[in-house]
């Protein structure tokens, strides 16, 4: 097997792509702050490793961290490991994740320098980035299901798995952000056929994979940059930058999600142990889901997963005031 192609620093194609495509787009929407946000997120793709095949990108990231620490070197935050295919990939709770050639599979290493209040939003940020990238590529109906599943027409097109990890030598905190995006892989195992879809299937034509990778990393640069940008704003006691003083990332998540107002089943492991049905009433400042139970009482969940019940996304969208995007 050929060794990985390695690009160091957000200095090559990605930096040009951000400069030429992402910055004008964001400047148009957000004005002068756009450059600052992208600077905060410029660690994304600081090193990009591309492998023809791996067993699991997360395992490769872990091995990379351990090897770097053992040789007394620092891991570059934003290091991104991408593979054409993964042979033993999995989702949460050891669920299988099908990762043949044609999709975008990989792991981004985030060295945690966020304050505790911002760190929970990392999960939302990666979902927002992916949803934006898919919409920009033509998947206009892509939307987010809490926490960060990206769906098109109710079927999952992308999923994320974030694993916290403390470095064995210096106890540095890492977030390993695993991503799996179905792009040109049109065939799914039988058990996934009713719940998974690829972007190529939706668009009716293949996706330019290297171009999508650049778009996704550019969107990650913006959305992870937002976490640091908003954190800096609050430290300066300026408050958040979104309309009405709302955190810009939460604002964007709400625009892209069809979760608010939906009737859902909640569980920590939804397949093996669904716990209860409720209606989603909102999102807390820390990204936790606010739910109303059948007896009218409220509950807030900061971990677990949901599946939609009953009404269609379109119906829920119509009911929800201020739904955008």
């Amino acid at each position: 097997m050929a060794g990985p192609a390695i690009e160091n620093g957000q200095s090559g194609e990605l930096r040009r792509f951000i400069q030429d495509r992402e910055l004008p787009l964001r400047r148009h929407a957000h004005g002068g702050m756009a450059s600052a946000v992208l600077r905060y997120g410029a660690f994304v793709g600081s090193a990009i490793q591309h492998h023809p095949a791996l067993t699991r990108a997360m395992d490769h990231a872990l091995a990379h961290i351990i090897a770097m620490e053992e040789s007394d070197r620092s891991v570059a935050s934003g290091t991104t490991i991408v593979a054409d295919s993964l042979s033993c990939s999995r989702g949460r709770f050891s669920r299988q994740w099908h990762a043949p050639p044609g999709g975008l599979w990989g792991c981004l290493i985030h060295v945690n320098t966020l304050l505790p209040a911002s760190r929970p939003l990392l999960s939302l940020a990666v979902g927002v980035a992916c949803c934006e990238a898919i919409r920009q590529e033509g998947g206009a109906n892509a939307c987010l299901r809490w926490v960060n599943d990206v769906l098109i027409g109710g079927k999952k097109v992308a999923g994320f798995l974030i694993q916290g990890f403390s470095g064995p030598r210096h106890c540095e905190e890492y977030d390993l952000v695993g991503f799996g995006i179905n792009l040109n892989n049109r065939r799914f195992p039988e058990e996934l056929q009713s719940s998974a879809v690829s972007l190529a299937e939706v668009l009716g034509h293949p996706v330019d994979l290297p171009h999508f990778q650049l778009t996704f990393l550019a969107k990650l640069t913006w959305n992870l940059g937002l976490l640091y940008f908003e954190e800096a704003n609050t430290l300066r006691e300026n408050g958040f930058s979104g309309d009405g003083g709302e955190h810009m990332l939460l604002r964007r998540w709400k625009e892209l999600s069809d979760t608010l107002g939906r009737r859902v089943v909640f569980g920590r492991n939804i397949f093996e142990n669904p716990l209860y049905e409720a209606t989603v009433t909102g999102l807390q400042d820390d990204g936790a889901l606010m739910l109303r139970l059948s007896d009218g009482s409220s509950i807030v969940e900061s971990c677990g997963e949901i599946r939609y019940r009953g009404e269609t996304a379109e119906a829920a969208q119509k009911k929800r005031p201020g739904a955008g995007g």
């Binding site: 949460r92 798995l161 916290g164 977030d175 920590r268 936790a288 509950i299 971990c303």
Partner: protein
């Protein structure tokens, strides 16, 4: 950590004052308004999912952002710092004390906590046993599971970010579990109590003794 227990002394203590006293502190700086009076009964969170909040204890307002802090335990208000009502307080200032009546099970646990090795929560989050430990607990029960330093025993979960928690402490069996799946645990609170095999007879003795000598549930 004790290896010998003076039962008479401990029982005397719990019989003369079978309560736990919990200080209620300001969660952050702000203007405080007490919502309960001295001696008032307060309730703990309730409901199948613990979604019905406990009794409101005080309201704290900072920068026009008000929140009501509720009781996490049942009992009675045993002391209010009335001088702070309506005043701006610093974070951590003690506002009142809740006197919580101890049940037999809680007394056993309190005594056991002096003997067991308590493994604390690394940060405020929800905790679950790792898949391997969970399946072993389901098959054999927690007290049949021996854990060693370095074992991945628990998963800390917050907003779909899962962090494996590795056990650090003396090898032994998982004797007590202090967390419930899906319920937040504060940083530093114990997650599990672990007991070396040599201490099991002592623990059995405590449990038997309290069960036999303590009248009320």
């Amino acid at each position: 950590m004790a290896n010998e227990i003076d039962f008479d002394e401990i029982f005397k203590k719990y019989r003369s004052d079978p309560y736990e006293y919990i200080d209620i502190r300001a969660i952050h700086t702000g203007l405080v308004r007490c919502l309960v009076a001295e001696g008032a009964e307060v309730a703990a969170p309730a409901g199948e999912w613990m979604h019905l909040p406990g009794t409101g204890l005080y309201e704290i307002t900072r920068e026009r952002n008000s929140k009501i802090v509720t009781s996490q335990i049942n009992g009675a208000v045993a002391g209010i710092n009335t001088g702070l009502n309506g005043k701006f307080v610093e974070a951590g200032e003690t506002l009142m004390t809740i006197r919580h009546p101890l049940k037999k099970k809680e007394i056993v646990e309190n005594i056991l906590q002096e003997i067991l090795f308590l493994f604390p929560a690394p940060e405020k989050a929800k905790y679950f046993f790792s898949l391997d430990i969970q399946s072993r607990i389901e098959k054999k029960g927690a007290r049949a599971i021996t854990i060693n330093p370095g074992d991945e025993i628990i998963t800390m979960s917050l907003m779909k970010r899962d962090t494996p928690v590795y056990y650090e402490g003396e090898p032994g069996v998982i004797y007590s579990i202090y967390f419930k799946p899906g319920v937040s645990v504060a940083q530093g609170d114990p997650l599990i109590g672990v007991c070396g095999p040599e201490k099991l007879p002592l623990i059995q003795k405590i449990v038997t003794k309290v069960k036999a000598d303590w009248d009320t549930e």
